[in-house]
Symmetry: C2
Subunit: 661 residues, 2 copies
């Protein structure tokens, strides 16, 4: 009799993904999504493999593929799941379509990944902004020439060095990192006692260069849920010499934070390590590239600052993020930390520290602190609202008297997720939309092409889906042209072939016809999609209102939109759909990737690090979900535009036909 | 044509060592000594494989060994070296004897290791002494009960913990090690917010225990060139709960420091790593054993202090020790350092530090600092001379007004090396000798037996060689009984079969006859051996004299002999041979392993660590070799006993026949 303890060695089968042609052997019972990760095939997976988003459709081919040495058949995958019916219609099912996260391997398989399921290379939109900050980096270089030891004066190397640094540069009480100590006798003698010493925070020797060196380098990093950006700066001049950005390599585990936290929780042994390792590998790739751009070695980078939301912060530090994802959402720590790069596996100068900026609250992370030290609302008289829309919406309101922060659950709709044809800001994404209020014809622009569709020279647009900024435009334009009503419902009386009955019985509006797309079908927005966008914009509006009430502020002096999303969103459309609180267009500013700019400031100025620690503890976090009036405020804000008298604030900005509607 | 760049893959041959039977495949051209290390066979190698000590003789067998599947022949080893002729006589050569460090592998070999070449397990003589020190350990435990976070009060875990530690125990400004941080959310919740926190130096959290814990543990370590000793102490009571000691696992690379430094230098890629790794592995073995003795886990050890000479200090820290071995002998650093155990690969609590005590000078290391903080000469009125005889002799002289230190090159003779039948203090070593001045008969005691040879119940002594304390006795007794004259030469007029002409034409004295030994030959002391001992004792005496002159001290109040050697040496014999400066026997004290006791004091009291750093920089190092009068003083001290009127100070202590000689 077989005992239950015996180890079953799993069989392996050959798996091929087309059109990439990636192939390999994968263990029985793994899902095709798992296989795609193992074989380096990027398949979209917004929900992180939980059969909830339907983005990971693949087609299993039937046949004998001689050259590949396999016979593939839909029957080589595990049984059809009820959850798949929601996303795959009967005809597609008949063609062999499956959700890659549902179909488990039971034999050799050849799977075709249709373009809409392919995770494209995101267009990175996190350029470094202009910043002004006093030059006071944490790492500085000090040249010294030492007298070699002699029998008369055999003082030890370290004391010889620190005494000289004291004598010539006034540095006292210096220590040295252990790894510097290990190499010290060798390097001093090879350099014939003429060296340049890199000192961190006037406290510790973190590198010794032979001879006279004048320039050293630092890296400021912004780890977003979707995008990671890195700025390589000269610590001598403060200039950015290279900007690198990549899609967050954790994206294959799910686009939203909760999917990734959930992956880490359900894979107890390796999940956290995998997700953490992905970020570190990604950072090291960027470090290699940025260093190559500047023709330096990666160990010439002697300092590094990092911002990121609380989950990314915890993932980077390999701290279990599960409690950040569950009420009461307490993070592991608030304060900034300096951790040796080598302890994190980050391949800069081995003795250097990574300075991770502080966290305000579970949902208001170090990225928001970066925005704050960049914008400095705590130095200003005027009341401003800072909105940072990433995968979550973070809000800060106040002035030098008081600042409060809140997080609002916008959901991922504003990033293109959970929208029928939503996608990331990758080539082929519709990022800009105009609808003719008379003909209801749609003009749009996709990422990767300079021209609009209407432009005679635009040629074939090959749209693939719609991204965040396109979604704001879309709702604004649908509303402005009367296709969508105040309550967000389609105006079914309109006569246009673009407005039609969808597969689920509710209406949908065609943005791009099949022939204009690269996915072989019409790109549409459904009634359900519009509801998602309404929910997202109402969350921001209601959150801001609650905060204004808490501080007793009736009118805002300024609205600052931070984040890449802010840079590309059309502020006017945002006002039209009622995403932003009542304010005139000229008081709304976009400040780009202020979180990354804040990381750069902390890299170049030690005072900014102190400021960050102070402000992170001073900003008062307001938990919106426990506020009594929040629900009412939220429901009221669902309307387009919200409130009883929605338009006065739009006077002069919105076309007449809307105002007269 | 073959290019010189092509990689030659070396062949491997089967090597067997007898009588242990250890075997394996070893690369062509490695020496038999290298092979013995690879296969875990301990062969004596005092010079570290430089063909200078002749201790590593092995016999290569001729024949076909069917069971082992090899044919062995002396011709399977590389050619005879000139250096071997010095140590191996023609008959032994004919029998197949070779120096293991000279014979390189050129085919299958079976090598027999004769008992005299086997490195025996050393008898460890480093018991913990009685110490009195105020209870003030660097690591302390603090129990705390936290209020769990809530939506109203979602303060982060770390700040929640540090605020409570401040509130209940007055600790301010606490940080936490990164690895503590990583586990923090998990451990607080699993412990239901009721924990005990281990804090290092009131500065940093290094461990969190679930629940209420009262006891934690520390390890004090003394890394000697020959012996490593470790004392596991309760940090609550200060009591020693386990003592472990091992032979320094580096011994296979050479018994003296210079051999090991030279190995590290000549094997640039791996030498330092190997030697360092040996110490760390040895320490980890001791940690495992000591923890098992106390029924704790090794990670319950939360603090560790280390003393050792400068070379051992550098090896432990993986710092290139070559410059410590070359003039002007400057060490890499003087000050004490706190290095994370994990960075050193030491398997105690992962966030704990190893506190390595400071170094006085290149030849006066942290072990001497340990002796000083244990003896505290800097608090005393009386002038004392502290002698620590290990592989080097370290001297400290002075009182609370001033202290000076020096190192004297005793050579390894006092440890049994470079003496014909010298050996370490291992079983079979003669450790005590008495010579009858009338019959010249020799009575002795070997390690491993309680009785003297003359004892009727002693049975077969099976002497193998003579160790340090036996060597002092030997010279004292030879002199006392008139066998050796004042100048150290044998009195050739004596009629005794024990005094005879040796193989090199000079005289030798038989200590043990062949039938009493386990090595199949007489154990003798040669004229050359006596010269070695004279050199060693003169170095100590002359060093002490120079130091007394420097401080203007005519008479010593006290002589303290530290180190295991001091514990076992016969003080009277040491005075007879003139090793110690003029003083009466009652003023000479042995204090055992004071270096290890000092390490324990530093473990149990933080003040002692500060004291160590202060005294290490205050003691003035005196380089004897550059003093003009040293040579004269040294030559004068070679005499037995030294000086013009050698005996008055011995009145009442030395048998009449000597005084009347």
């Amino acid at each position: 009799m077989q005992t239950r303890r015996c180890l079953v060695k799993r069989r392996k089968f050959r798996i091929v993904f087309q059109p990439s042609g990636r192939r390999g052997e994968v263990e029985e019972d793994k899902t095709l999504l798992d296989a795609s990760r193992e074989l380096g095939v990027d398949i979209e997976s917004v929900c992180g493999g939980k059969q909830r988003c339907g983005k990971c459709k693949v087609r299993i081919e039937e046949g004998r593929f001689e050259r590949l040495g396999i016979r593939s058949s839909p029957s080589h995958a595990s049984d059809w799941q009820a959850s798949e019916t929601e996303f795959i219609d009967p005809q597609s099912k008949a063609e062999g379509f499956r959700l890659a996260c549902a179909a488990k391997i039971r034999g050799d398989l050849l799977a075709f990944v249709p373009e809409e399921s392919r995770a494209g290379q995101q267009v990175i939109r996190k350029a470094a902004g202009e910043i002004t900050v006093a030059h006071d980096p944490a790492v500085r270089l000090y040249p010294v020439k030492l007298v070699p030891p002699s029998l008369d004066h055999p003082l030890a190397d370290l004391e010889r060095l620190t005494e000289k640094l004291n004598e010539t540069h006034g540095l006292t009480g210096l220590t040295a990192d252990y790894l510097v100590l290990m190499d010290l006798p060798q390097i001093l003698r090879e350099a014939e006692w003429d060296v340049t010493v890199a000192v961190w925070n006037d406290l510790e020797i973190i590198r010794i260069y032979p001879g006279h060196v004048e320039e050293c380098w630092g890296l400021a990093v912004d780890i977003g849920t979707t995008t990671v950006a890195a700025y390589l700066c000269s610590l001598k001049t403060g200039m950015v010499h290279a900007t690198e950005s990549i899609m967050n390599p954790q994206v294959v585990y799910g686009e939203d934070i909760m999917s990734r936290i959930s992956y880490a929780m359900t894979h107890r042994d390796t999940g956290l390590e995998e997700l953490s390792g992905r970020i570190v590998t990604g950072l090291n790739d960027m470090i290699t590239k940025a260093a190559a751009t500047c023709r330096i070695n990666s160990d010439d980078i002697v300092d590094m600052t990092v911002v990121g939301n609380t989950a990314m912060h915890h993932f980077l530090l390999r701290i279990d993020p599960r409690y950040v994802g569950t009420a009461p959402f307490a993070p592991a720590l608030h304060r900034s930390v300096d951790i040796r790069a080598r302890e994190l596996g980050i391949a800069i100068n081995k003795s250097s520290y990574v300075h991770v900026l502080p966290i305000e609250a579970g949902f208001v992370g170090a990225d928001n602190v970066g925005v704050l030290i960049c914008q400095e609302p705590y130095h200003q008289e005027e009341n401003q609202l800072i909105i940072d829309i990433g995968t979550n919406g973070e809000l800060v309101l106040g002035n030098k008297e008081k600042l409060i922060s809140a997080s609002c659950a916008t959901g991922p709709a504003l990033e293109g997720a959970e929208i029928s044809f939503g996608m990331r800001a990758a080539p082929g994404a519709i990022e800009r939309i105009k609808i003719d209020p008379k003909t209801f014809d749609v003009n749009y622009k996709v990422i990767g092409r300079e021209t609009w569709k209407r432009d005679p020279e635009s040629g074939d647009m090959k749209a693939k889906g719609i991204c965040g900024s396109g979604i704001i435009d879309l709702l604004g334009e649908l509303y402005r042209s009367g296709i969508v009503q105040k309550n967000g419902s389609f105006n079914k009386n309109l006569k246009t072939p673009r407005l039609r009955s969808g597969s689920d019985g509710t209406h949908e509006f065609v943005i791009a016809w099949k022939k204009e797309t690269s996915i072989g079908k019409d790109i549409v927005v459904t009634q359900r999609d519009i509801r998602q966008i309404q929910l997202a914009k109402a969350a921001i509006y209601a959150g801001a209102k609650m905060m204004m009430r808490r501080l007793g502020i009736a009118h805002l002096d300024r609205v600052v939109i931070a984040g890449a999303f802010g840079t590309y969103v059309d502020k006017e459309e945002a006002l039209i759909i009622g995403m932003l609180p009542d304010i005139t267009l000229d008081k709304v500013v976009s400040v780009g990737n202020a979180a990354g700019d804040g990381a750069r400031m902390a890299l170049l100025n030690r005072g900014k690090r102190k400021e960050a620690d102070q402000i992170a503890r001073q900003v008062e976090y307001m938990e919106l979900t426990i506020e009594k009036e929040f629900q009412d405020e939220f429901v009221a804000a669902l309307t387009l535009p919200h409130g009883k008298d929605p338009f006065p604030h739009l006077a002069g900005m919105v076309p007449d036909e809307i105002l007269n509607q």
